[in-house]
């Protein structure tokens, strides 16, 4: 039976950004990706908070990289989507697409 706890908007965006970035998905590029598409500043702290929430739900997994000098000797934390995460992204897309399809076009403009 499919899980009915659908993803929140921000969580879905983060999962899509992680999917898009592949092996290079850590805090900085994820935040930049979100900023680029949303067109406004993103708090890196809120990105990490959402990623931790997703990790506790088993939708993403993380691993520490090597510390680098340009980061003051601090390691990067890489994220990758899990099978369950991918399943939930697909499920959310299916539901959203169905809802959009059923929406009648507004007068004089397409949605």
């Amino acid at each position: 039976m499919p899980d009915r706890s659908y993803l929140g908007e921000f969580e879905l965006m983060i999962l899509l950004a992680v999917l898009h970035l592949g092996d290079d998905a850590y805090g900085v590029p994820i935040s930049r990706e979100l900023e680029r598409h949303r067109g406004r500043d993103v708090s890196v702290g809120s990105v990490y908070a959402a990623l931790e929430r997703l990790e506790s739900k088993g939708l993403v997994a993380s691993s520490l990289g090597d510390p680098t000098p340009e980061r003051g000797g601090k390691a990067k934390r890489y994220f990758r989507i899990t099978k369950e995460g991918l399943r939930q992204v697909r499920e959310t897309r299916r539901v959203l697409t169905e809802l959009w399809r059923k929406l009648p076009e507004l007068k004089g403009e397409s949605i």
Binding site: G27, S31, D41, S43, G45, L64, R71, A75, K76, R77
Partner: protein, 280 residues
Amino acid sequence: MKPTAPPRIATWLLEHSTPGPRNEALAGDLLEEFRQGRSAAWYWRQVLAAIAIACFRETLDRRTMLLFAVLWSILAPGWDLLIENVEHNPALFGPMWTLAWPWSTFAALGLSLLIGGAFIWTGVLVYLLLYGAMTLSFSLRGLRRTLALSLSAFIAISAAMFALTLLLPVTTQAMNGLGLNAFITPSAPKYEKQKNIYRVYRFTRQIDPQTGKSVVVRALVDIDSNDFYPPPPAPAPPTPLSEIKNTNTRAIVARLPYFLSMIYALWGLSRLEKRRRTMA
């Protein structure tokens, strides 16, 4: 020329207020972004947002504990009244009140702190029984540490609050039973402001006109003139239940050391457990 190091205070705040491995990765990310051209204002904004999020999450994670600490500290004035009755029981602590100064003060202070500590310890144990035992497993060492920490926190917070209330104007202290007046029992003198004259009810010795004998009566004394007034109708004596329901300033101030000590003790306990679970 743009500085290569981000604001030091912001970095210090970030490192000391966001827990765990997330802290390191987040700090590294912010530093990387700063070195790639972000401004100091951007860095500050990110740090403050990260701290706010961390505080919110920590509070949310511990909402049951916070609620329990609020409820338990509401009971504190009732406990204080019960204890006061026990302390003044001549059969139990009679010899303590006859000690010479300063031993009597030390003994009374020590007893009050010990009894206050016992209330907090009981609270910690009740919390563990009601909630903690179901969700967390505690080591005996962790529990001992928590109990010791809660007692030291209670002593420190009580002393700090006492010192703070002494900074208030004397009349404010008197009106609210704070500062040195905190030692006045809820059933003893009450200060009232009548026509800008502060009056205090005291127990005093007077000659009974009918019998001619010296008796102890409760009388109203004008602080300024030291005149005695006819005794006002005695208020209903406080009960532990009425003290629990009490929301005046004295009762709220009396609850604060208990509340803060409970939070301190239980916060430390959940942090220990969190660390243990992370390591496991």
